[in-house]
C-alpha cells in the first residue's frame, strides 16, 4: 500500500514523463489549484504549457474542526494543465490512475457531466466529474474562458482530489486515518490546521479587519491595473508587475472566503463582493494578455 506522499510522487512522475513541468504549490492562500498563476495566467494566450503541481486549497466554509471524516478546511489538489490538449488526453488520465495502482478493469469508472464555473475568476469550462466506484476522484475540464477571455487553446485541466483518491487506495473511512508517510497518519500532519483554522475562520477572525484588508488589496490591484493602461514604453510594459497585481486578487479571493465562512456576508451582499473580485481578476487577465507580446520579446539591452 502506497503512502499519501508515495502516491503524489507517482502522479508527479507520471506527468513529468509526459512533458509536464512539475511545480511547487503557489505560496499565497488559494481556494483551488485553478487560482495559481500557473493555471489562471498560463492558460491565457497562445503559448503551449504543461504543468503539474500539488496545491493546498483553502475553503474556510468547509472546515469542520477536524471532526468530520470527509470534510476539510484545507485539502490537497493535484493540478495538471495540458495546453494544448492532446487527443488521447482521457487515455493519458486513465493511465495515471493505473500508475497509482488502480486496476480499471476491476473498478467502475464513469465520466459524468459536470461543467465547472468560477464566478469570481470569470472562468468556466466543460467537462466531467470522474466517478470511481461511486466516488468523485477528479474534476476534468476543458477550459473555455478565463478572466472573461475566450481561451485560444482550450487546455485540459485535470484536478485530482488527493485525499479522496488516497483514502480509496488505502481503504480508509476517515481522511485522518490515511497514512501520509510510512507510520505517520494524516491526522498527525494536519489535524491542528483543521482544528485551529476552523476556530479562526468561524469564531475569531476579526471581521472589520477582514473587510478592511479586502478593500486595501482590492484597491492595490485596481491601482496597478489602471496604471498598466497608462504605460506605453515596451520595456516598461514588459517589466510591469501584473503578477504583483494578481497576488492582490488572490488575497481578495481568500478574504472573501473568510468573510463568507465567518457569516459576515449577507446573501444580498454576496453577489456584489463576487463582482468586485471578478472585476480585478478580469482586469489582470486582460492586461496579462495585452502584455504577452512584450513578455516574449527579447530583453532590451
Amino acid at each position: 500500500m502506497d503512502s499519501f506522499q508515495e502516491t503524489v510522487f507517482k502522479l508527479k512522475k507520471y506527468w513529468a514523463d509526459r512533458g509536464c513541468v512539475i511545480q511547487e504549490p503557489y505560496d499565497i492562500e488559494v481556494g483551488a489549484g485553478t487560482m495559481s498563476p500557473e493555471t489562471f495566467l498560463r492558460v491565457l494566450g497562445p503559448k503551449p504549457w504543461r504543468v503539474g503541481y500539488v496545491q493546498p486549497s483553502r475553503r474556510p466554509a468547509d472546515g469542520r474542526y477536524g471532526d468530520n471524516p470527509n470534510r476539510l478546511y484545507k485539502h490537497q489538489q493535484l493540478q495538471v494543465i495540458l495546453k494544448p490538449t492532446p487527443k488521447d488526453v482521457i487515455d493519458q488520465y486513465l493511465g495515471s490512475l493505473e500508475a497509482i495502482g488502480i486496476d480499471l478493469s476491476k473498478h467502475d469508472l464513469k465520466l459524468e457531466e459536470d461543467n465547472w464555473e468560477s464566478p469570481t475568476l470569470g472562468a468556466w469550462g466543460i467537462g466531467w466529474q470522474v466517478m470511481l466506484d461511486g466516488m468523485e476522484i477528479t474534476q476534468f475540464t476543458y477550459f473555455q474562458q478565463c478572466g472573461g477571455i475566450d481561451l485560444d487553446l482550450c487546455p485540459a485541466e485535470i484536478t485530482y482530489g488527493l485525499e479522496r483518491i488516497v483514502s480509496f487506495l488505502q481503504g480508509k473511512e476517515s481522511v485522518y486515518d490515511i497514512e501520509w508517510a510510512p507510520g505517520v497518519p494524516y491526522s498527525e500532519v494536519r489535524y491542528f490546521d483543521e482544528l485551529q483554522l476552523s476556530v479562526y475562520n468561524f469564531e475569531s477572525a476579526d471581521v472589520a479587519m477582514l473587510w478592511e484588508a479586502l478593500a486595501r488589496h482590492e484597491a492595490e490591484a485596481q491601482r496597478l491595473i489602471d496604471q498598466y493602461k497608462t504605460v506605453e514604453d515596451p520595456a516598461e510594459k514588459r517589466r510591469f508587475p501584473l503578477l504583483g497585481a494578481y497576488d492582490q486578487v488572490l488575497k481578495c479571493s481568500n478574504l472573501f472566503n473568510l468573510l463568507d465562512a465567518r457569516g459576515a456576508i449577507s446573501v444580498t451582499e454576496r453577489v456584489g463582493v463576487i463582482a468586485r473580485v471578478r472585476k480585478i481578476a478580469v482586469g489582470v487577465a486582460q492586461a496579462w494578455v495585452d502584455q504577452e507580446p512584450f513578455r516574449t520579446m527579447k530583453e532590451v539591452a
Partner: protein, 651 residues
C-alpha cells in the same frame, strides 16, 4: 442499393442529451437522402455516451443523371444577348432551344447534369450534418474558432456498403475503425463492417443498443431486490454506460433513523443508485448500483460504493443533528438574512406576506404553517439537499413536536412541482401552497420581473400553473382575479395559464376552452364543469348547428350597432319569432346540471332554423326590426352563461 453506417465517436456526451441528438441525426439524414435523391431510408439510430450511430438502407450508388433547364433571354432579344447567354452556358447559339412559357417564348439551354456518386456527396455533406446537431451547451477543444460540439469528437466510422465515405471533421478522418469500451476489450481501433458492427463492439464490451442496455439493467436490478421504480434514473444509467451490470450493496440499518426522504435523495440523485424497499414497503438497508463493467467478482466496486454511501450518510446525520439544536420556530427570524430576491426583499418579509394570505385562504392552521414554511432554508440539510426544501421543514416540525396538520402542510407546500405532480393533499396545505406561489407572482410582477419568451428565471409560469391546478383540483375557490389583486398583467398571465392548463394538460379543444372562458373564469371548478359539458354535448347532432346560428346572431347584433333597449314585445311576434321565444323559455330551465342545460339549448335548433328560414331580421319597418334584434339579443344573453357558442369553430 447500398447500406450505410455512421458512428460519431466522442468523449462522454451527457446522458440526457443523447436521445434528442439521435432523433435529430435520423431526421436530418433522412432529409439529406431525400433532398439529394439518394434513395433509401434511415432504419435506426442508437448509441451510448461515446457514440451516436445511424443505420440506413437502400441508398443508390450514384444519383440519376438529370436535365436542368436554364432560361435565357426572350426570343426577340438582341442577338448579342442571345450569344452572351450561349457563351455563358458553354455552347453555341445553335444548341439553344426556344421554349414557350406563360410569359412568352424564351431561349433555354438544357444542361445535362451527371448524377454524382453517393459516397462523394455524403463525404461533402456529412461534416455539416454532424456539426449541426443541436446540443444545449457546446465547446471548443481544438482551440478558439475551431469546430464546436458537445464534447470532443475522437473517431468517425462512415461506411457506404463496404467502402469508407472519406471526410475529415475536427481533424478526425472517417474510416472503418471503431473503438472499444474504455478499459475492456481490445486496446486500439476495432475494424468493423456494416454487417458485423454491433457484434464486434459487443465482443469489445460495448452494447450499442440502448434498448438492450436498458433491458439488461432492468432485468439485473429486478433480480437483486425490490427496487423502487425510477424511470428517470434508468434512462440516465442506460446512457452513461456501454456495458452495464447491476450490483447490490448495503448500509448499516442504524441510518434508517434518518428521514427516508434524505436517504433516498442521496441514493438516487447523488449516487445514482436504486433505493430498495423491504417487504413491508419501508426502506431497506440496501441499494442497487449499475456499473459500466460486466462483473465485480472480487467485490471491489460494492465495497467502494458502500464506503462512499457511508460517508454521505454520515454527513446527513451530522446535518440532521446540527439542525435539531435550533428548532425551526427559532429559525424564522434568521430569514431576515436570506434574500428572496434583491429587488423584493428577504424571506422574512415574504413569510409575513404569506402568513396574511394563508390566513385569508385557509385560516389559523394555514397561517401557522406559512409562518414556518420557509424556515428550513436556514438548515444545513436544505443547504446540502436543496431539492428537499419544504419536505425537511415538514419533517422537522413533526420531529420537534409541532402540529401534524401544520407539518404536513409545510411538507407539501412546494407541490405541485409539475403538471404531472399531485397538489397538496390537505386544504391547509393547499392554502399555504397558494399563498407561497401567489406571493411570488405578485411580488415579481410588482417589480416588473415578468417572464418573456423562454426567459423565466423565477419559474413564474410553473408557479402560476400550480395555482391553477390547485384551484381546479383542490378545495379552495378564490378567483384568480382576487388573487391577482388588481394587477392586470398578472390577471392576464393567469388567464394564459388557465388556457394552457385546459388545453395542454386536460386536452380540451382550443375553441371549447375559448368559448367557456369567454363567459367567465372566476370559478375554475365551474369552468372545468362547463368545459366537460360542452365536450360531452358537442358531438350531438344539434350542437354545432346551434353554435353556428349563435355566431350568425352575434354577427347580426354586431352589425346592428347600438341595440334597442328593453325586452322584445310579444305582440309584435310572427309565428317564427313566437316559436323561438317559446322554445327559449323551455330551454332556459336551469335544472339538471350543465350537460342537461346544454342539451336543451341544442334543442333550440328547429325553432332557430325555422326563424332564419322565415324571417329577415332587417325588416324595412324599424319597429319590427328592433323587436327582432331585442329577441335575438335576449336569446344570446340567456344562453351565454355556460359558454359563448359563437367561439365554437363549426364545419
Amino acid at each position: 442499393m447500398l447500406p450505410f453506417l455512421l458512428e460519431v465517436g466522442a468523449e462522454e456526451i451527457p446522458d440526457w442529451m443523447i436521445p434528442a441528438a439521435l432523433e435529430q441525426l435520423g431526421k436530418d439524414f433522412q432529409s439529406l437522402l431525400e433532398a439529394h435523391k439518394l434513395g433509401g431510408r434511415v432504419t435506426r439510430t442508437d448509441g451510448t455516451g461515446r457514440r451516436l450511430v445511424l443505420w440506413a438502407e437502400g441508398l443508390v450508388e450514384r444519383q440519376a443523371d438529370s436535365v436542368e433547364i436554364v432560361s435565357g433571354p426572350p426570343k426577340g432579344a438582341n442577338p448579342n444577348a442571345v450569344a452572351g447567354f450561349a457563351k455563358k452556358s458553354g455552347v453555341s447559339v445553335d444548341d439553344l432551344q426556344v421554349e414557350t412559357t406563360a410569359r412568352g417564348e424564351y431561349y433555354t439551354f438544357r444542361r445535362q447534369v451527371a448524377g454524382r456518386a453517393t459516397a462523394e456527396l455524403l463525404a461533402e455533406l456529412l461534416p455539416e450534418l454532424i456539426q449541426k446537431l443541436y446540443f444545449p451547451k457546446t465547446m471548443f477543444w481544438t482551440g478558439k474558432g475551431g469546430p464546436k460540439f458537445i464534447r470532443p469528437i475522437r473517431w468517425i466510422v462512415a461506411l457506404l456498403g463496404d467502402r469508407v465515405v472519406p471526410f475529415t471533421l475536427a481533424g478526425v478522418e472517417s474510416g472503418n475503425e471503431s473503438s472499444a469500451h474504455r478499459k475492456l476489450g481490445a486496446g486500439g481501433p476495432i475494424p468493423v463492417t456494416i454487417a458485423n458492427y454491433e457484434a464486434e463492439l459487443e465482443k469489445n464490451f460495448v452494447i450499442v443498443s440502448s434498448a438492450a442496455r436498458r433491458a439488461k439493467i432492468e432485468r439485473e436490478v429486478a433480480g437483486l431486490g425490490n427496487a423502487q421504480s425510477d424511470p428517470k434514473l434508468l434512462e440516465t444509467l442506460t446512457f452513461i454506460t456501454e456495458y452495464p451490470s447491476a450490483i447490490r450493496g448495503g448500509f448499516d440499518a442504524s441510518y434508517l433513523t434518518l428521514p427516508q426522504e434524505v436517504l433516498t435523495m442521496v441514493m438516487r440523485f447523488h449516487q445514482k443508485y436504486f433505493a430498495v424497499n423491504a417487504a413491508d414497503g419501508s426502506l431497506a438497508p440496501h441499494f442497487i448500483a449499475v456499473m459500466n463493467i460486466p462483473a465485480d467478482p472480487e467485490g471491489h466496486v460494492v465495497r467502494g460504493n458502500e464506503r462512499v454511501l457511508r460517508a454521505r450518510f454520515n454527513d446527513a446525520r451530522f446535518f440532521y443533528d446540527v439542525d435539531q439544536k435550533r428548532p425551526l420556530l427559532d429559525r424564522v427570524a434568521d430569514l431576515a438574512n436570506v434574500t428572496f430576491q434583491a429587488k423584493i426583499g428577504s424571506y422574512l418579509e415574504k413569510t409575513s406576506r404569506m402568513v396574511a394570505l394563508a390566513q385569508e385562504l385557509g385560516g389559523e392552521a394555514a397561517a401557522e404553517a406559512a409562518y414556518l414554511a420557509k424556515a428550513d432554508l436556514t438548515t444545513e440539510m436544505v443547504k446540502e439537499f436543496t431539492d428537499l426544501q419544504g419536505i425537511i421543514g415538514g419533517l422537522y416540525i413533526a420531529a420537534q413536536g409541532g402540529r401534524p396538520d401544520v407539518a404536513k402542510a409545510v411538507y407539501e407546500h412546494y407541490k405541485p412541482l409539475s403538471m404531472e405532480d399531485t397538489i397538496p393533499s390537505t386544504v391547509t396545505g393547499q392554502a399555504v401552497a397558494l399563498a407561497d406561489k401567489v406571493d411570488t407572482l405578485r411580488s415579481c410582477f410588482a417589480v416588473d420581473m415578468i417572464p418573456t419568451g423562454s426567459k423565466d428565471p423565477f419559474a413564474l409560469r410553473r408557479a402560476a400553473q400550480g395555482v391553477v391546478k390547485i384551484l381546479v383540483e383542490g378545495e379552495l375557490s378564490p378567483s384568480l382575479q382576487q388573487l391577482a389583486a388588481g394587477d392586470s398583467k398578472l390577471e392576464e398571465f393567469f388567464l394564459e395559464r388557465v388556457k394552457h392548463y385546459f388545453r395542454e394538460v386536460k386536452g380540451y379543444a382550443y375553441d371549447e376552452v375559448n368559448a367557456v372562458l369567454a363567459v367567465g373564469w372566476a370559478d375554475l371548478k365551474d369552468v372545468a364543469l362547463r368545459l366537460e359539458a360542452v365536450k360531452a354535448v358537442r358531438p350531438t347532432p344539434n350542437f354545432e348547428p346551434v353554435a353556428a346560428a349563435f355566431k350568425r346572431i352575434k354577427n347580426i347584433l354586431t352589425q346592428a350597432g347600438t341595440l334597442p333597449a328593453g325586452a322584445p314585445e310579444a305582440s309584435l311576434f310572427n309565428e317564427a319569432e313566437a316559436g323561438v321565444a317559446a322554445a327559449a323559455r323551455q330551454a332556459a330551465i336551469k335544472d339538471g346540471g350543465y350537460p342537461a342545460q346544454l342539451e336543451r339549448i341544442a334543442g333550440l335548433r328547429p325553432a332557430i332554423d325555422h326563424f332564419f328560414d322565415q324571417v329577415l331580421v332587417n325588416d324595412p319597418d324599424p319597429a319590427v326590426r328592433d323587436n327582432r334584434l331585442r329577441l335575438l339579443n335576449e336569446l344570446i344573453n340567456e344562453f351565454s352563461s355556460i359558454a359563448d357558442f359563437s367561439e365554437i369553430v363549426t364545419k
